[in-house]
Structures are given as structure tokens and as C-alpha cells.
């Protein structure tokens, strides 16, 4: 099996190569076979690998395969080496499995598109890059995947490039994540300076002895890596790109901007957990960033009207939960939430894609409505996903993962009541906006007629994901209910177990509060948007409410802030110096000598008398020198 793990990324890469080189000449079915088939093959391979891993774990906890020596100079050396341990396995599984489903979905979804080959080429490249990211044995290779997924995200957000807004969104996504990437690159340089290696196992082994607990350089490295994660995972303050990234096709949003790429930050922090653990400050920062983000994004999600933007803000918010969990030291809880979130959020996006396509590319939820009976299968699957997002108790996977996080935010080593408060209010908001979304879209009267119905190839992935959204949580139960924690047992081969503080109220109290708040949120959504819709209408009369709503709607004004603080001054500055300041110096030199030439030209006036006088003055000068020397 060791020699096969390189095949996992190789399949999608092969697909990319074929489609990139000869894709335009191929008929569409061929493209679909190549595009989806390669990812499916990778998924099958991962399933086989996973079964083997679970049955007979490798001796050192990881499969590794070295392809070739990439770079070796001085005491720096890096190889194309893949490594799959338990943490990577979870990610690889999600990427290939969800990826395969989304590819199948896209075969039908993108059928009418002119650039079919380009779409699948980019998607395959993305899967390849994402796999490289999570399978990388060293941080340089990880960075390769990291940038690769950024490129694919750029390409796919701007897939319909003829609309300028899409290109702007793509550029914005790339720029903002690039800021995080740059911070991460600096972190890598610092790590290399300190440890002399970028190989992940070496770093994890050497860090505890090399770094001191809480030393400033450790904190710096951890914060820089965190910044990288913040960029990729759309966390405060680098979150503004993700809502705009919804300009891409829905499968792209599902795969890249919900299930996989945006969780790369979570992966990075989990991967580098040893470094983070050495720096309490960085851990606290991670938790605070996550906590704030989940609230900020949750509030924005409450007032959005575009179905995909709601989901985008909810994604930011859910990743905020993961960061929160990472920050308090609940490593496995974060990964578990990633696991469940990947299913239900991909499901929600795919279902939203179906809805949007069925309604003539209508994005506004207030022009939808009453779809429950028209698209019953979509409704059911969407409901499963929404339940998981809202963390409906016991029957949804989201409940199990989120409940664990909420419990640990108070009880884990890095936890605190404040963080718990953040998390729990986020849960309330999440439940509220989820209920709002479901009710506005699927209940009430129909405002736009359904024009097309989804193909079978689109509904099958929905069903599979819906089932997973329900059952994926059953692998890990709260300890006070059932002692079944398959997931954390697997992940804890790599990640440290969560350390609980002492003297904490019983877990059941927290669960009760969380369930109560979730139900409250759902009910209030139901009340405001179904039972008593005029209440909202009354509120909208009040200017204060409208102001707050607009503030939330604009994503807390971050875009405007960045526009005035960074973008406009930057553009102004570059425009100011468009003609190159240094060129002016040279031009000045040139015109100075030209001016001298003009002055001397006056002496060249063609008059013989003047020339003779010049000679005379020269002679006088020499003679005068003679006189006085």
C-alpha cells in the first residue's frame, strides 16, 4: 500500500493534464468520464487505503512514499514525499469522497457550459492540489498544495470570466488569501531558521526540545501560521473574500469554499499542533479569532438574501467553531466538526445549486418559496443538511460535533466561559438563520415557477450526502450518553487528547443549554418568517433596525473599511507614481544638459567678431595667469 498512496493525487493530476492539453478537442461525455472518473478512482483508492489503515495500522502510524528528491542544497532538503497518517486520512477521505460526489454532480450541473473541459481540468487540479496539501510530508510541499488550491479557487471563482464582477471576486479571493499565504511563508522561513528543517515529523519531534514554552519566537511562528490559516479559512479579519467567492458555480462553492479548501487552515493548525501548544498566546489568539469570526459571520448570515451568501457566511461561522476548538485544545473536536461540516455544507451548497438552477438562476431567497412540494427530494436533503447546520439534537451529525466543541470551550485546558458564551450565542444565531433559510425557500407561497428539474446524476450525490449528514455524527457520542468515540480514537493517534480542567459543572448542563438555545433559535426563525411575518415588517419601519441590518448585511463593513484603508490608497499611490519618479530624475538630467546646450548655443552665433573676441579673452586669461603665477 505504501507504493500506492502517490496514485491518489496522481489520478486527478492525470485528469487535469489530459483535459488541459487536449480537453477542447474531446466530446463532452469523454471529458466527464475523465474528470469525474479520475476523482472517483482516487476515492476508491482512499477507501481501500482507509480500510487497511483501520484494520492494520502501520507501525509508525503513517504510510509514506517518496517520489523523488525535490530540492537539496546546503542543509536544506525537501522531497516529493507523501505521508498519510490518521489526520491526513480524514482529510484525504473527505476530499476524495465528497470531491467524487461533487464531480458526479457537476457532470450534470455543468452540462450546458461551453467550457466543460476547463471546468473539469480546474476541478481535477484542485483535488490534486488539495490532496498534496494534506498528504505533504514537508511544509514546502504543503505550501505547494496550499498555493495550488488558491490558484484553482481563483480559476473557478472566475470561471464565468466574462462577467467583470466574477473576475473581481476571483482576484479578491486570491489577493486576500495571498496575504495569509505570505504570512505563512514568513512563518516557514522562521521555522527553518530555528529548526533547520521543514519536514513535518522532524519539526514535530524537534520543537518541544528546541523551543521554550511560550517563547516569543514560538509565538511568532505560530501566529504567522495562524495568519496563513486565517487567510485560507476566511477568518477574521481576512474573511471578506469568501462571500464574494460565491460567484463561482455551485459545485465549486460546495467543494472548495465549503468542504475542503477553506478548512485547510484547520488542517495546518492541527498539523502544527506541537508548535501551537508551545505558545499559549497563539492558542488563545486562535480561539479568539474563531469565536469572534463565528459571531460576526453568524450575524451577517442572519440578514443575507442571497442563498449562497447565507451559506458562505455560515461556512465562515462554522470554520470559526473549528478554530475555536483548535484554540482551546480540543483538537479532535475541531477535526470532527470539519468531518461533519464537509458533508452537510457540501450538501447544502449542492442543493442550493439545484434550487438556483431550477429557478432560472434566482439567488434571492425572498423570490423563492413554496419549493417543498415542487422539489420534494431537494427539500428533504436540504432539510437534512440544514438540521445538521443548526445542530438539531440527536438526529443530525452537526449536533454531535458542535456539542463537543461547545463543551470543550468551557472545559478544555484553554477554554473559558467567555469563549463558551461566544460559541453558544453562535449556536443560537446559526439555528435562527438556518430556520429562516429553510422556511423562506421551501415554505410559503411560490414566487418563481420551477423551470427545470434536477437530473438523476445530481440527486444521487444529494441523497448520499444527506444520509451522511445524518449518520456521520454517530461515530462519536458525548461521553455522558454513550461511550463511543471512534473518531477521536482514530485522530488521537496523531493529535493529543483534550485535557479537561477540573471543577467544572456536569456536561449535561451544557448540553441542555445548547439544545434549548438551538430550539429557541429554530422556533424564533419559524415564528418570525412563518407565523408572524408582519413582525419583521414592523421592525423594518424603524431606522435603527434598518441601520443595524444594513451593517450586518454588508459583512460588518469590512469591505468598505479595507477599500478606504488599503485598496484606494494603494491604487492612488501607484497611479501617482505611474510615470516613475526615478524617470523624472533622469529626464531632469537630460533636460538639464539640453538647457546647458541651449545656453552655450548662444555663444555660437556665427559672428566672426565674437569668435575673435573669445580667442582674445582666452589669451588674456592665460596671460593673466602668467602675470600672477
Amino acid at each position: 500500500m505504501n507504493n500506492l498512496i502517490a496514485l491518489i493525487p496522481a489520478f486527478p493530476f492525470l485528469g487535469f493534464l489530459l483535459l488541459f492539453l487536449i480537453g477542447r478537442q474531446l466530446p463532452k461525455p469523454f471529458i466527464a468520464w475523465i474528470g469525474a472518473g479520475t476523482v472517483c478512482a482516487a476515492a476508491v483508492l482512499v477507501l481501500l487505503l482507509g480500510i487497511q489503515f483501520l484494520q492494520a495500522p502501520p507501525a509508525d502510524g503513517a504510510y509514506t512514499q517518496t517520489l523523488w528528491q525535490w530540492l537539496s542544497t546546503g542543509h536544506f532538503s525537501c522531497a516529493f514525499r507523501f505521508r498519510i497518517d490518521a489526520l491526513s486520512l480524514v482529510f484525504v477521505f473527505v476530499i476524495t469522497f465528497v470531491g467524487a460526489l461533487i464531480h458526479l454532480y457537476s457532470v450534470a450541473f455543468m452540462k450546458e457550459d461551453r467550457d466543460y473541459a476547463r471546468f473539469f481540468a480546474s476541478m481535477n487540479l484542485f483535488v490534486f492540489a488539495m490532496l498534496v496539501l494534506v498528504m505533504a510530508d514537508n511544509l514546502l510541499l504543503l505550501y505547494l498544495g496550499w498555493e495550488g488550491v488558491g490558484l484553482c479557487s481563483y480559476l473557478l471563482i472566475g470561471f464565468w470570466y466574462e462577467t467583470p464582477a466574477n473576475c473581481r471576486a476571483a482576484n479578491k479571493a486570491f489577493y486576500i488569501t495571498r496575504i495569509g499565504d505570505t504570512a505563512m511563508a514568513i512563518g516557514l522561513f522562521l521555522l527553518f531558521k530555528e529548526l533547520g528543517t521543514l519536514t513535518i515529523p522532524d519539526i514535530l519531534n524537534a520543537s518541544p526540545t528546541h523551543f521554550q514554552q511560550g517563547a516569543s519566537n514560538t509565538t511568532l511562528i505560530a501566529l504567522l501560521l495562524l495568519a496563513g490559516g486565517m487567510g485560507k479559512s476566511a477568518q477574521l479579519p481576512l474573511q471578506t473574500w469568501l462571500p464574494d467567492a460565491m460567484a463561482g458555480p455551485s459545485p465549486v462553492s460546495a467543494l472548495i469554499h465549503a468542504a475542503t479548501m477553506v478548512t485547510a487552515g484547520v488542517y495546518l493548525i492541527a498539523r502544527m499542533h506541537v508548535v501551537f501548544q508551545l505558545s499559549p498566546l497563539a492558542m488563545a489568539a486562535t480561539a479568539v479569532v474563531g469565536g469572534l469570526t463565528l459571531l460576526v459571520a453568524g450575524f451577517s448570515a442572519m440578514v443575507q438574501t442571497d442563498i449562497k451568501r447565507i451559506l458562505a457566511y455560515s461556512t465562515i461561522s462554522q470554520i470559526g467553531y473549528m478554530f475555536l476548538a483548535l484554540g482551546v485544545g480540543a483538537w479532535s473536536a475541531a477535526i470532527f466538526h470539519f468531518f461533519t461540516h464537509a458533508f452537510f455544507k457540501a450538501l447544502l451548497f449542492l442543493a442550493a445549486g439545484v434550487v438556483i438552477e431550477s429557478l432560472h438562476h434566482e439567488h434571492n431567497i425572498f423570490r423563492m418559496g413554496g419549493l417543498k412540494n415542487r422539489l420534494p427530494l431537494v427539500f428533504k436533503t436540504f432539510l437534512a443538511g440544514a438540521a445538521a447546520l443548526a445542530a438539531l439534537p440527536f438526529v443530525s451529525s452537526g449536533f454531535y460535533s458542535k456539542d463537543q466543541i461547545l463543551w470543550y470551550t468551557w472545559s478544555a485546558g484553554g477554554g473559558s466561559p467567555v469563549l463558551w458564551m461566544l460559541g453558544i450565542s453562535g449556536a443560537l444565531i446559526t439555528a435562527f438563520y438556518t430556520a429562516r433559510l429553510v422556511i423562506v425557500v421551501f415554505y410559503g407561497e411560490m414566487k418563481t415557477p420551477v423551470s427545470t428539474y434536477p437530473a438523476k446524476l445530481m440527486t444521487v450525490p444529494l441523497v448520499i450526502l444527506a444520509v451522511l449528514s445524518v449518520v456521520a455524527g454517530f461515530v462519536e457520542w458525548p461521553h455522558n450518553i454513550l461511550h463511543l468515540s471512534l473518531f477521536s480514537e482514530l485522530v488521537q493517534k496523531v493529535l493529543p487528547a483534550t485535557i479537561l480542567r477540573t471543577g467544572i459543572p456536569s456536561e449535561i448542563v451544557f448540553q441542555g443549554i445548547a439544545i434549548l438555545l438551538t430550539l429557541t433559535g429554530i422556533y424564533s426563525g419559524y415564528y418570525l418568517y412563518y407565523r408572524n411575518t408582519h413582525v419583521i415588517g414592523q421592525w423594518q419601519q424603524k431606522p435603527a433596525f434598518v441601520a443595524v441590518r444594513n451593517f450586518f448585511f454588508s459583512g460588518w463593513g469590512f469591505d468598505r473599511l479595507y477599500n478606504t484603508v488599503f485598496v484606494k490608497p494603494f491604487v492612488w499611490m501607484t497611479d501617482l507614481n505611474k510615470t516613475d519618479f526615478f524617470d523624472q530624475i533622469n529626464k531632469g538630467l537630460a533636460s538639464g544638459s539640453r538647457q546647458l546646450n541651449r545656453w552655450f548655443s548662444y555663444s555660437q552665433n556665427g559672428s566672426l567678431r565674437w569668435y575673435v573676441a573669445g580667442v582674445l579673452v582666452g589669451v588674456l586669461f592665460i596671460l593673466t595667469l602668467q602675470l600672477f603665477v
Binding site: 530540492l71 537539496s72 542544497t73 466574462e162 462577467t163 467583470p164 476571483a170 505570505t182 514568513i186 527553518f192
Partner: protein, 495 residues
């Protein structure tokens, strides 16, 4: 001897091109193509020869040729190539092939003289990369300059006279400073040892007073940073690049700039290790300024060739930063950066030339949505735009990453600022991509996508940049002895 053959093939073929153009123009193209191809194969042959024996154990100088030229002044015809030189020769002939190929249909007037200039410029560049006699080096330095001037001044765009003058004055000013420095070194060395010689190896042993060494080094360094170019001596570059014909831009960006970097590596640091170490901080600072400033300027440009030209300024900043950090990793990165920048920027200029040929404008405001009509060109452009913003998997990333990795221990704050160049490079690169290929289609006239010749050149470039990105180890091994010597020399000096 093989080095002499290489250079003389180019020179002789250039003459033939000039003479035969009256009778048969297409023969001229084939002559120049085959001359460069022969040189390319010869370089490959040398590399192959030395790859049979393990490279790391062989002496640093792989090929050497020495003959007296003007013995009474101690001037010899001394050519030698180590791994670095061979690598740059390979790049030189590779880009030379592309330059000949891309001017195939572009040049219609005075074709013979054009190819004469092209080949002589290439010969001059090749000579610069292998000359080990300082007089000879200066000679080749001028040989590459003058034909380049003609290339810009005769076959350039509307504002070609201005650009050509500017190019010539800048480089010539630097060249004269270098000549002064060479002479000073020659006389000081002669006064010390009694034997007057321009030979590199004998001059290496000159002991200079700190003041003399600083001034002489500044002479060399100025010539090279003008060529590189480093801010604030970069102004000739945007004009020259944007006005030159496509092949001219290709050679300027791909090769001429590399002669500056090569000069610093080969002459400035080994000849004046102490003085170089003393100004290392400043040089790195100017490198970083170049990175940031070039990127900002590139962002503001609307002329596609000027934009690419400023990206060169930005990328060459990494070279300066890397060289003066005196770390092995950084220097390896510098070499990678030189090679990959030659390829990627050369490719971008080729693309700009193709766009100019089709649209008759260089203004990106008039372009847009070209992907729709030219998807193949768009794909190629995407690859090289990504290379220029330092995407891993492509060669440029290796260069920049190694430079920064090596520069980090030498000067942390500067390296951090240089890393911010990643963000800026993303800004200008994506802006270029978006303005030209994305967005709504603005041009109604049907445009021809890449033809077979263009596709072949672009694919050759893509393959080389990807190969360098995923397997750069041969390059690193090849230049390792050179780099090690440099690092040792510098470390002795700083101690």
C-alpha cells in the same frame, strides 16, 4: 576550444546572414536558426559529457581555453566555463532559438542585418558568460551592447530612438565605470606583482587597501546593477523593453539582465569579498526596494510590455537580495531565479509580442476577454502569469523561495519585506491576466489563436519552467561548486 567554436559560429553566421540577405531571405533565417541550434546542442553535449562523471567531484572549471591575445599588455583570450556559465550558456542558446523563431515572420525589412545583430548580441552574451580575462570580458560586454542598440533603434516601436538612446547611455555609463575599475585593478595588480595581467585568476590574488577595494568594487557593481537593473538605475529597462521588437525584449529580459547578475556573482564578490561584505546590507536593501518598487510600478502600468518590464525589476531585486546574503541556499536560489526569470519573462514578452501582432496595440485597456477567442494563448499566459507570481510547481517559486529562505538568517526584516513581494506580485500578475484575457470580449474582429510555430515555442517554455519547478536538483548540483567557492570566500572575508 569548444567555447571559441561556439562564439565564432555565431559571429560568422551573423556575417553570412548580412551578406546573403540580398539573395535569399529565407536562407538567412535557416542559417541563424541552425547556428544557434548547433550552439545549443554543443552546450548540451558538454553538459552531457560532464554528467557522465559525477559533477560534485569534478573541478569547478569544466571547459577552459586560453591563448595569448595582446601579450604585451597581459591580455589573453581566456575562456572558461563552470557549472554556472554552462547553465547560462544553455539558457542563452535556448532563448536564442526562441528569439530566432519568434522573429521569423515579424521582421520584414533589412532582415539580414537584423539577424546579424541578433546573432552578434547572442555571441556577446555568450562571451560575457565565459570570458575570464577582464579585458575580454569588457570587449564582449560591448559586443552585446551595440547590436542590441541597433535592434531597438531600427526594428523597434514608435518611440524606439528614445528607448535605444536611453538603453545605450545607461549601459554605456555603467560600462565605462567598469572599464575604469578594470584598469585600476590592472594597474594596482601590476604595481604589486610586477606582471601586468587582465587575467581573472591572477587578479583574484590582488590585495587591495580597503578604500581602493571599495571604489573599484563600486565601479564594477554599478555597471552590473545598472544592467540588472536595481532601483534607482532601472529606468532604461521599461523603455527598452517596451520599444524593442519581440526578440529584442526576449533577449533583454531573458539574457541581458542575467549578465548583470552573473557579473556580480563572478567578479564583484570573488574579487572584493571584504568590500562586498561591507556593503551587503545596503545592497540587500536596494534589492528589497527593487522588489517592492518594481511591483508597485508594474501594478500601475497600462502598457503590457512596460508592465512585464517592471516585473523584471521586481524579480531582479530577489537576485540582489540573494547574492548579498552570502548564503549557499540563497545563492542557489539566485541562480534558479536567473534561469526561471529568463524563461518566464521571456515567455510573457513573447505573448505580448503575439498580442501586438494581432491587435496592433500594447495598451491593456484596449484588450479584454481574449480567452474567448484565444483559449490556447490564454492557457499559456496563465501558466506564465502564475510563474511570475511565484506559484509553486513552477520554477520561479523555487528561486524566490530559496532566496528568501537563505536571506532570512542574513537579514530578517529585509527578508520579510521581500516576502511581501509575494502579495504585490499577485496584484500585478492577476491584473495583467484579468485585463487581457478575462472580462467581456471587447474586440470584435476574429483573432487567430496560436499557430503551430508559436505553440511549439510556448510548449517548450512551459515544459522547461515546469521541469525546473518540480525537479530543480540538476541545476542546483551543477552550480554547487561555484556557489560553494563564493560562500567560502565571503565567509573568510567576513571573519
Amino acid at each position: 576550444m569548444i567555447l571559441v567554436v561556439m562564439i565564432s559560429i555565431l559571429l560568422v553566421a551573423g556575417f553570412f546572414c548580412w551578406l546573403l540577405a540580398q539573395w535569399n531571405v529565407s536562407m538567412v533565417k535557416w542559417i541563424s536558426l541552425s547556428a544557434v541550434a548547433i550552439d545549443f546542442l554543443l552546450t548540451c553535449f558538454i553538459l552531457w559529457q560532464h554528467s557522465v562523471t559525477p559533477l560534485l567531484n569534478s573541478p569547478a572549471w569544466l571547459v577552459e581555453y586560453r591563448a595569448d591575445w595582446i601579450p604585451s599588455f597581459g591580455i589573453s583570450f581566456h575562456l572558461a566555463a563552470d557549472g554556472l556559465s554552462l547553465l547560462l550558456l544553455l539558457l542563452c542558446f535556448f532563448l536564442g532559438l526562441l528569439a530566432v523563431a519568434c522573429s521569423w515572420n515579424e521582421i520584414h525589412q533589412r532582415t539580414g542585418f537584423y539577424y546579424f545583430n541578433l546573432l552578434w548580441t547572442l555571441a556577446g552574451i555568450a562571451g560575457v558568460f565565459v570570458a575570464l580575462d577582464l579585458f575580454l570580458f569588457y570587449f564582449f560586454w560591448e559586443v552585446m551592447l551595440v547590436p542590441m542598440y541597433f535592434l531597438i533603434a531600427i526594428w523597434g516601436d514608435n518611440n524606439r530612438r528614445y528607448a535605444a538612446y536611453k538603453f545605450f547611455i545607461f549601459t554605456q555609463a555603467g560600462g565605462l565605470l567598469m572599464l575604469l575599475a578594470i584598469l585600476a585593478l590592472y594597474f594596482i595588480h601590476g604595481a604589486q606583482t610586477g606582471t601586468y595581467s587582465y587575467d581573472y585568476f591572477s587578479l583574484l590574488s590582488t590585495t587591495l587597501s580597503p578604500t581602493a577595494s571599495r571604489w573599484i568594487m563600486m565601479g564594477f557593481l554599478l555597471a552590473f546593477v545598472i544592467k540588472l537593473p536595481a532601483v534607482p538605475f532601472h529606468n532604461w529597462l521599461p523603455d527598452a523593453h517596451s520599444e524593442a521588437p519581440t526578440a529584442g525584449s526576449l533577449i533583454l529580459a531573458g539574457l541581458l539582465l542575467k549578465t548583470g547578475a552573473y557579473g556580480i556573482i563572478r567578479f564583484v564578490v570573488p574579487l572584493f569579498p571584504q568590500a562586498a561584505a561591507a556593503i551587503a546590507g545596503w545592497a540587500m536593501l536596494f534589492g528589497v526596494i527593487g522588489i517592492v518598487y518594481g511591483a508597485l510600478m508594474a501594478f500601475a502600468q497600462t502598457d503590457i510590455k512596460r508592465l512585464i518590464a517592471y516585473t523584471s525589476v521586481s524579480h531582479m531585486g530577489f537576485v540582489l537580495l540573494g547574492i548579498f546574503s552570502f548564503r549557499e541556499i540563497a545563492l542557489q536560489g539566485v541562480v534558479m531565479q536567473m534561469i526561471t526569470h529568463g524563461i518566464s519573462t521571456g515567455a510573457l514578452f513573447l505573448l505580448a509580442g503575439m498580442l501586438k501582432e494581432r491587435l496592433h496595440t500594447r495598451d491593456i485597456a484596449q484588450m479584454g476577454g481574449l480567452w474567448t477567442s484565444m483559449p490556447a494563448m490564454g492557457g499559456m499566459a496563465l501558466v506564465f502569469v502564475m510563474a511570475s507570481l511565484g506559484l509553486p510547481l513552477l520554477g520561479n517559486f523555487i528561486g524566490e523561495f530559496l532566496v528568501l529562505l537563505g536571506a532570512f538568517p542574513a537579514n530578517g526584516p529585509l527578508a520579510i519585506i521581500a516576502t511581501l513581494g509575494f502579495v504585490f506580485s499577485a496584484l500585478y500578475s492577476l491584473r495583467l491576466m484579468q485585463r487581457v484575457f478575462l472580462g467581456p470580449l471587447t474586440i470584435e474582429t476574429p483573432l487567430r489563436d496560436l499557430n503551430a510555430r508559436e505553440l511549439a515555442t510556448m510548449i517548450a517554455l512551459v515544459i522547461s519552467i515546469v521541469l525546473l519547478g518540480i525537479y530543480p536538483q540538476p541545476v542546483l548540483d551543477l552550480v554547487r561548486p561555484t556557489v560553494m567557492q563564493l560562500v567560502e570566500g565571503a565567509s573568510v572575508a567576513t571573519r
